[in-house]
Amino acid sequence: MAKKNSDQMFAQLLRNDSVGKPDRTIEDRLMYSYILKSGRSKVRQNSFASFFGWIFSGQGLGLKIATISLVVFFSVINTQNFFESGKISASDSIYSQRTLVADSAHFIQLVDSLRVDSLN
């Protein structure tokens, strides 16, 4: 009778060995935990928490510095362009600013006087 190889015998014995199956409730508990975990991660994906976390962290420091530099640069350029040609910015006694306020009563009176004038 041909002898069996010990490797084959051990493999065959162990693969045919059965110790039962895990409890079904484990699967239910794991599925529940998985749903909870994926639900939490989806809420986190929709929030700004990770974005603010990134802003105040040390990650992507070069990118942050470049962005801030650009913002500062353009704001400086904009302030230098803030003047209107022909407008005298210095104070002058000849020039007096008059504030015109719409007065409805005065306007009605003016219209009435015009009407009287036209009747005469």
């Binding site: 009778m1 002898k3 069996k4 190889n5 010990s6 490797d7 015998m9 051990f10 493999a11 014995l13 162990l14 693969r15 045919n16 060995d17 110790v19 039962g20 199956k21 895990p22 409890d23 484990i26 699967e27 508990r29 794991l30 599925m31 935990s33 998985y34 749903i35 975990k37 994926s38 639900g39 991660s41 989806k42």
Partner: protein
């Protein structure tokens, strides 16, 4: 794993179905043939997967990584038991097969004898033996899972087989060791 990380529930269910029995068997045999403890460890293993799916590196085979986590859990448990000095109390019953009539040997009895012998040898031999012969991993994969050189795995398997050959002497006529 990528699907599991983004919350794909069917992918997780599929993974659980694929590995639950294998992992249950591994924990059962590694932790002193206790169904309750094997169930607890199975649950803990998958909880680790749920809590930190990002810890898996896709460059490596999933199976090897998963078994290495399971093996580390067993090692931690052995340490806990050593601290509690309870190790001797959870060892299986004393082997009684030496007195079995050769004609009446059943595969279940041989299995029991194998695991009794592996318990005597130690957990390192048992894990290498299980991974090689039950799970069918290559020597390289077993070495990776256990974090050992291939030579060490080979020598452990050789020593385990040598000891088993002595213990299973009544099978010598049928098996070539």
């Amino acid at each position: 794993m990528q699907q599991i990380a983004i919350g794909n529930q069917p992918a997780f269910a599929e993974l659980y179905q694929r590995y639950k029995d294998r992992m249950f068997y591994y924990f059962y045999r590694m932790l002193g043939n206790s169904s309750e403890q094997a169930s607890d460890f199975l649950q803990e293993l998958f909880m680790k997967l749920i809590e930190k799916p990002e810890s898996y590196n896709p460059k490596y085979p999933f199976q090897t990584w998963f078994y290495s986590i399971a093996n580390n859990m067993c090692k931690n448990e052995y340490r806990r038991r050593e601290i509690r000095q309870e190790y001797s109390s959870i060892l299986p019953l004393e082997p009684q097969l030496d007195f079995i009539d050769e004609k009446s040997i059943e595969p279940e009895q041989i299995i029991e004898k194998i695991f009794d012998t592996l318990d005597e040898l130690g957990t390192e031999h048992r894990s290498a033996f299980l991974l090689r012969y039950r799970e069918g991993f290559s020597i390289k994969d077993v070495a990776e899972i256990l974090g050992l050189p291939e030579g060490t795995v080979k020598s452990r398997l050789f020593y385990a087989k040598k000891t088993l050959a002595e213990k299973l002497s009544y099978l010598k006529d049928e098996i070539e060791f």
